[in-house]
């Protein structure tokens, strides 16, 4: 039986939103990296600490209900809003603030930005 752990993800320098607490479940275990150049180090770190599975969204696709959180490297227009719109907790490695046509979907409890690997830590007491 997979033993998943929770992590707390805080915004990095110049970032916005969060903190998010992410804990995968057997049904929702993917750390979905929608980033250039394969699995982003932030996604790898979340996967390592939680026991979730890092998944490259540009290599194959996954249904939304399998995604524990999405990691994006969006400069603020498109990917920044899509996952929050689908209620998927979203971690942007760039320090973006809500903007663009999908800004209305970007909420603090679903979105955190400017995140570096060191902003991902084991959640205390979870």
């Amino acid at each position: 039986m997979a033993d998943y752990k929770a992590v707390t993800i805080e915004k990095g320098r110049g970032g916005w939103g969060g903190p998010l607490t992410i804990k995968p479940t057997p049904e929702r275990n993917l750390i979905y990296s929608v980033t250039g150049g394969g699995i982003h180090p932030v996604a790898a770190r979340i996967a390592e600490l939680t026991g979730g599975e890092a998944f490259d969204g540009f290599r194959s696709s996954a249904p939304f209900d399998k995604i524990a959180c999405a990691v994006i490297d969006c400069g603020g227009t498109a990917r920044v809003g899509v996952y929050p719109m689908k209620k998927v907790p979203t971690v942007d490695v760039h320090a973006t603030s809500p903007a663009g046509p999908l800004a209305m979907f970007i909420k603090e409890e679903l979105f955190v930005s400017g995140v570096k690997p060191e902003n991902v830590r084991e959640a205390k007491g979870k």
């Binding site: 540009f58 490297d73 400069g75 603020g76 227009t77 498109a78 996952y83 973006t96 663009g100 046509p101």
Partner: protein, 146 residues
């Protein structure tokens, strides 16, 4: 014969930074177009991005887009005014481009490529996007003379 060779290999061909052909246009693209914004992703981008994206199949992905370059979208030519710090990485790695015809000379968002304020054409499958180096265009050159 003794004809002197030109120093620089004739600048007839403008350097192509990017060239691609549209393969699909998402259902929300017209609304984005009306706001002066086109979001591009190469084919193979996750499905959830298709709705609002122009999907395309690039043939030239050199990148290195800088202000002064020229975006040619079907018959329309638009001068690049600002390039966000992550825009080129997005373009080369993901075929991702946030093209904004907003006239901004500094990119509001780090992924933006801003061009002149001008109505964007309606793109459809088969449309071609090219980005050409501006160095041969002699646009807005500032010469520093002490």
């Amino acid at each position: 014969m003794s004809q002197p060779e030109p120093e620089v290999g004739s600048a007839a061909a403008q350097e192509l930074r990017y060239s691609t052909v549209v393969t699909a246009v998402g259902s929300m693209v017209p609304e984005f177009t009306a706001e002066g914004l086109l979001v591009w992703f190469a084919e193979g981008a996750p499905e959830e991005l298709h709705e609002f994206s122009v999907l395309h199949r690039p043939t030239v992905t050199a990148g290195g887009v800088v202000p002064g370059d020229l975006v040619r979208l079907d018959g329309v030519e638009l001068r690049v005014l600002a390039v966000g710090p992550v825009a080129n990485a997005n373009l080369v790695q993901l075929g991702h481009l946030d093209l904004k015809a907003n006239g901004a000379t500094t990119a509001p968002l780090v992924g933006d490529v801003c061009v002149e304020q001008f109505p964007l054409p309606t793109v459809e499958p088969g449309s071609r996007l090219e980005i050409l180096a501006g160095s041969t265009l002699h646009i807005g050159q500032t010469e520093e003379t002490a």
